[in-house]
Every structure is written in C-alpha cells, then in structure tokens.
C-alpha cells in the first residue's frame, strides 16, 4: 500500500468500513511507515478532542431571553421586581415567582445590580449600629436630677418602711398569682361549708372537735365488739387516751364507759352529750392541745 492510498482509506479504517483484507493491509502499512503511523495517531487524538469538547455555559441570560421571546406574559416588570426584593432576600419567594424574578435580574440592566446594592446597604446599617455614640457628658446627671432630684444617688437610701413594703410585696407575690386564686377560693368555700354543717359552734375549732368525736365513736364501737382483735382494742384505747388528755386512767375509762352508753342511746345524742356533759374537760384539753 502506498502512502496516498493509506490517506484515502484513513476515514474508512477509523469508521470500521474496510473489508478484512483491506483492513489488514492498512494496519500493516501503519506499522511499517512512521509518517503514516503518526498521521493515524494525530487524527485519532483530534477526533477524541472534538468529541470531548462542549459549548461554553450559556448562563441564565440565554434561558431568560428565550423565555422572554416565547412566553413574554411570564416576565415581571421592574416594579414587581423591586416589590419582591426583600422576600427574595429572606428566602420567602415561591418557586414560580422566584424563577421569573431571577430571569428579570439576569436581563434587566437597571435591576441586575440592585439586590447586591440592597444587601450592602443592610450591611452598612449593621456596621453603623455597631458603632454606638457615647452618651453626652452630663446627660446621666441631668436624668438623675430630673427623676430623683439628686446627682449623687448613693446618698439616697431607701427608708426601712419602703424596703419592708417592697419585701412584703415580693414575698406575697406568689400567693396572689392567678394560678393559686382558684385553690384559695376552694379552700375558703370548704371551710365555710364545714363550719356551717359539721362544726357545732360554727368555728374552725368546732370542725376539729367534731372530727375527734367521730373518731371516738368509731373507737368506742370497735371496743364494744368482743370479736375484735387485740390490735383494734389497743387502737381504741389509744384514741380514748387522746380524748382523755392528761386525765388519770380511771377517769378516762369512766368517760369511755359513759361514751359507750351514750353511743348505744343514739348517734344524734352521742355527739353532743359526750362533748357537753360527759367529758367537758377532755374536749377543752383537746382544743388546747391543738
């Protein structure tokens, strides 16, 4: 094969279009002839480079121009662009409007630099804020003079009565908080109901006394029953001791006996009789103990 025949068949060889014999002759010539070998290598590299190369990035400008030409109704005006600038910077712009806004920024010469300028203006405000002015000399003294009437406030000491009032206000503050108001109301209502129903004399002490009488009756009933275990009897004795106060055991037992008798007479009688007649000293001593 001659060199000019090699050049003629070069493209067919690279395309794989040569017949088997012609392909072998071509390859054999490429091995023997250094000039044709270099030519083959050079053409192969050039083809690779061509296939690897891409057009430069068109950017948003091209896309924006195409969309402006094809669907001009989606373009926004400069006024709309400015109206949505803060939303864009804050990241609150919805996707469809976001892309239209960015297309306007890419195309409009007057608006393209505005977002950057706004960001720098906000930055300038923050920098300005960092450098605070000093308070002019004498201003604080004038404020003190106009409020407490003295430029040497350390000479003004709070009187002890005012301090006490403020301390009490601080201490009472949790009590008057709204969360506790309902609890306090419920407590007052329950005390009112109990003093009018349970208490014999309408006082808070009467509630306490009545509850002790009820306990006494229960203990008396328990000790009356022979079937009760020893522990219950001991409990009844201890309740009687409490009701008897510091009285001697004999008197206390007598009181218990009387109490049992009155309990047998009736529940309605029991409370008043045992309190008012049988053991007045015991009742008083309970109140004293409380």
């Amino acid at each position: 094969m001659l060199c000019n025949e090699f050049e003629d068949q070069l493209t067919d060889y690279l395309d794989g279009a040569l017949e088997a014999q012609a392909n072998r002759d071509f390859a054999e010539h490429a091995m023997r002839c250094p000039v044709c070998h270099d030519l083959l290598s050079e053409v192969k590299n050039t083809l690779l480079a061509c296939s690897a190369s891409e057009a430069p990035f068109a950017g948003t400008g091209l896309e924006a121009r195409i969309l402006l030409k094809t669907i001009p109704e989606t373009a926004i005006t400069c006024s709309d662009f400015e109206d949505h600038l803060t939303d864009y910077l804050d990241g609150f712009l919805m996707a469809p409007l976001y892309h239209r806004w960015e297309r306007h920024a890419a195309l409009c010469v007057g608006c393209s630099e505005l977002p950057g300028a706004v960001v720098r203006a906000i930055g300038a405000c923050y920098t300005y804020k960092q450098d605070e002015l000093m308070v002019p000399a004498g201003l604080e003294a004038r404020i003190l003079q106009s409020t407490i009437g003295n430029v040497l406030p350390r000479e003004i000491r709070a009187p002890w009565t005012s301090r006490l009032v403020e301390w009490l206000r601080g201490a009472l503050d949790p009590i008057v908080s709204p969360q506790l108001a309902s609890v306090a109301t419920m407590l007052l209502v329950s005390v009112f109901v109990l003093t009018n129903t349970v208490s014999t004399d309408g006082s808070v002490g009467g509630i306490y006394h009545a509850s002790l009488q009820l306990a006494e009756r229960a203990a008396g009933n328990a000790s009356k029953s022979s079937a009760l275990p020893k522990e219950m009897k001991q409990f009844a004795d201890s309740v009687n001791d409490v009701m008897g106060g510091k009285e001697d055991p004999v008197k206390g037992n007598d009181a218990n006996r009387n109490q049992n008798t009155s309990n047998q007479d009736g529940a309605a009688q029991g409370m008043k009789k045992s309190t008012g007649q049988n053991n007045p000293k015991g009742g008083n001593s309970n109140q004293d103990n409380r």
Partner: protein, 197 residues
C-alpha cells in the same frame, strides 16, 4: 454598657424592687446601663444631639414614673424599657414630622464615636466614622414612614411582628415599607458611593 451589658432578669427585678423602695443607687445603675442605648435610638430618629438628649431624659422620667407597672414575669427589664423608649421616640418623631422644623441635622462628626475594635488602625477608625456619617445621612433622606421601618428593622433589629405591634399598622404595610425603604436607601448610598455596584 448598652445591650452587651444588659442585666439578667433576676438582677433587674431586684434593681426595680430597690428603686421602688427609693434606693437612689439602684436607679443610677439602671440609668447607666441603658442610657447609651436609648440615646442612640433617639439620635437615629432625630439626627440631632440636643433633641436626642432631651428625648432620652424624657424616656427616663417616664420610666421612673412607671416602675410600679413593671412585672418581671412579662419580660426582662431591657425589653420593657426599650419598648417604652421606642413608643416615646416614635411618637415624638411623628409629632415633629407633622410640625416641620427648619433646623438641619447635626453633623455626626461632632460626636465622639465609640470604636469597639481596640486594635483598629486610625485609617480604619476614620473609615468607620465616615461610614456612620454617610449611613445616617442616607437614612435621613428617606421619607418618615420608610425611615421608621428601616431603623426599626435593620438597626434596632425588631421582627416584623414587633414592628406591627409598635406602629399598629398591618404586616403587609410593614413589609412593603421595609422593602421600599431598603431599596431607596441602597440607591441613595450608591449615589453617595457608600456602597459600590
């Protein structure tokens, strides 16, 4: 001092309690802690040192008289105090807008600037001072409504909702004014070459 040194809630509640009792030292501490921040707030709205001083004094007189209304459970002292100060400063600003005065704003150069960067060079300090002058100048050029919203949002750093509560206008109006104010300020500062394109 200022915001960086604001008092803890418990500490401020105790200070207020002492103030109510008539302790002068406690009131002095409150004045020293918050006077700078309130003075700066007043200055940004008025652009005049003497007016800002009068306004700061007025705020503290109002605060002193209202100390009995302060409740630590409803927020710390700084928030309560600044809310009161903003209300007063904005009321005053609105009044002055209704009655225009012929006095020009102060030159910010007249004031001594507090520069926090201890190691900043003289050149850097000058640049910062110059920036402050220009930004205040740019803010002064905004219309009153836009100016109020830009100061509250970008300098006082209030949220949209806080501005709505303070100015008692709809949220949409607040957002619109902030947006318009920022754009106007950016254009002004660009013309002044404070921010380059």
């Amino acid at each position: 001092m200022g915001a960086a040194n604001s008092l803890a809630t418990n500490e401020s509640a105790e200070l207020v309690r002492r103030c109510r009792a008539g302790d002068g030292a406690a009131w002095e501490e409150i004045v020293q802690t918050y006077s700078r921040r309130i003075y700066n707030l007043a200055y940004r709205f008025t652009s005049r040192a003497d007016t800002a001083e009068d306004l700061t004094q007025e705020v503290f007189i109002r605060v002193y008289r209202s100390l009995s209304q302060y409740n630590p459970k409803q927020g710390d002292l700084q928030n309560w105090l600044m809310r009161l100060a903003r209300n007063l400063v904005i009321d005053d600003y609105r009044k002055r807008q209704r009655a225009p005065q012929d006095e020009a704003a102060d030159d910010l150069e007249d004031h001594q600037y507090h520069l926090r960067a201890a190691g900043a060079t003289a050149q850097r300090e000058m640049e910062r001072r110059e920036l402050g002058v220009q930004v205040q100048g740019g803010i002064d050029k905004l219309s009153p409504d836009l100016r109020t919203c830009v100061i509250l949002r970008d300098i006082e750093e209030l949220s949209y909702q806080e501005i709505v509560d303070l100015l008692k206008i709809p949220e949409g109006t607040v957002k619109s004014r902030i947006n318009r104010g920022r754009i106007e300020l950016a254009k002004i500062l660009r013309r002044m070459r404070v921010v380059e394109a």
